[in-house]
């Protein structure tokens, strides 16, 4: 078995044993609970929003949790002296994280189909989730590199979501309606993510869609290169403790 697959299988197994998989099921149940409590029968508008929250924050958290377990237990050091390339190591975490987001989406979609009215493209949503989760897994690595412990990772994630997500949300919901502000939020990755997910409803102009795709696509590649570069100093810091 190639080492990437060994890492991937190991990562999946630990997701189960460390109850991370269980935690993401609980989160999915919470989303289902919210859908259940929603009075309006047509949830096409709120659905991308839930998926957005899940794909961004869960991607950051899952990457962060696994790294912090490895740091805490010292298993990271065993990994660092094994014949594993850093690309394989990082990508195995990304694949598991993205898969988890995709599974959550599918479960929520099935629930929505059965019990609610929903009218959006699943394929569009799936592609959007993959890209959004991939991008935010990279954010998860960067935040993990620079967070002392899991609590500080949580705080940093809150900061990220507050700075980028709040403005996006305020504009998306129309609470803030100001030309300058509307333009400024385009700088935020969360706006691109929201646009992309929302495109599955068919309510996004193609210019915006292309911009969002380019932002997250190119952004993901740049971030991944960045994450690979930064890994060496992270490894030296953590391996040398």
């Amino acid at each position: 078995m190639p080492n990437f697959l060994v890492l991937l299988v190991g990562e999946l197994k630990r997701m189960v044993e460390y109850k991370i998989a269980a935690a993401s099921v609980v989160v999915a149940l919470i989303w289902i609970g919210i859908l259940y409590l929603t009075e309006i029968p047509d949830i096409t508008f709120i659905f991308p929003l839930l998926i957005f929250v899940d794909a961004t924050s869960m991607a950051i958290l899952m990457v962060g949790v696994t790294i912090f377990f490895e740091k805490q237990e010292g298993s990271l050091r065993a990994i660092l002296v094994s014949p594993i390339s850093k690309t394989d190591y990082l990508l195995s975490k990304v694949v598991v994280t993205v898969t988890s987001s995709v599974l959550t989406l599918i479960v929520l979609y099935i629930y929505a189909l059965l019990f609610k009215d929903i009218n959006l493209s699943l394929i569009g949503l799936l592609s959007a989730v993959i890209l959004v989760a991939f991008f935010h897994a990279q954010i998860g690595f960067i935040l993990s590199y620079y967070s002392r412990d899991f609590t500080s990772l949580l705080v940093n994630m809150m900061k990220y979501l507050f700075i980028f997500f709040m403005p996006t949300l305020l504009v998306y919901t129309g609470i803030i309606n100001h030309e300058l502000f509307d333009k400024a939020v385009y700088l935020a990755p969360t706006t691109a993510a929201m646009t992309l997910l929302n495109a599955s409803t068919g309510n996004v102009e193609s210019g915006d869609l292309i911009y969002a795709l380019a932002y997250l696509g190119i952004g993901s590649v740049i971030l991944f290169v960045f994450v690979l570069r930064l890994f060496d100093s992270f490894a030296a810091r953590e391996g040398g403790v």
Binding site: R14, G74, P83, A236, G240
Partner: protein, 284 residues
Amino acid sequence: MFEVRNLSYKYPRNREMTIRGMNFDIRQGEIFGLLGPSGVGKSTTQKIMVKLLTDFEGSIYYRNRDLKIYDKDYYQEVGVGFEVPVHFSKLTAEENINFFKKLYKNQADTDTLMKRLGIFEDRKKKVSEFSKGMKIRLNFVRAMLNNPVMLFLDEPTIGLDPANARILKNLIKEYREGGGTVLLSTHLMNDVDELCDRVAFMANGKIVETDTPQSLKRKYGESSVEITYVKGDNLQKKSFEMETLSKNNEFFELVRNEKIVSMHSKETTLDDIFIKVTGVESYA
């Protein structure tokens, strides 16, 4: 196997150098001991040599090639035994070993190793349920799972009871008999005395002495005879140098005239040499 020249290292957050110009060679097939008091930089040296710390000064050659040239394939042939446990605590011992083992081209018979070390029966237990000593033994299995040609062991017997320390030391010796090379760092003299072909004493981030344990004892050793005898109502002790004993009249007088209680010959231990060379009391 290794040529280390003018090795120096400073941790990024420290102001002082931890390693200050180390020079040593490790020959193929030997157990090379790195000995020194706690905090002298033994683990740091190991971490540099297993490429966990990379921004060192000086040069390290492994099999005649610069260590910096080696990529991750370096780990295909070396084994690293850490001082502290490095396992996934929520996986079983067996799952831990199998996960890492699959990453290597060369795979050891880990079941036999676990049996020898007495953790085979507990292989299906989660590592979090393991005692400290069991985790340390599992560390050794992990270090050996690729049949390495070069083995790094950092304080391998710390935290083990004497019986298990014995087993581990036998395994290390067998590994050498099979052609393996070992860098072993420790502050325990017993381990060095028993295992090491050559030993380097570290003090102040440098190597201050390198030799075989035997010739170190010869070099620094002074053997003497200590006599306890009755003088009036008290016991008295007196020491005589072994070398000059045959010409020592005081010694003969004493033996002839006094009531001797005991007579002991005393040889310098590596412990004494350790204190002499490093200027630090070890706590062996």
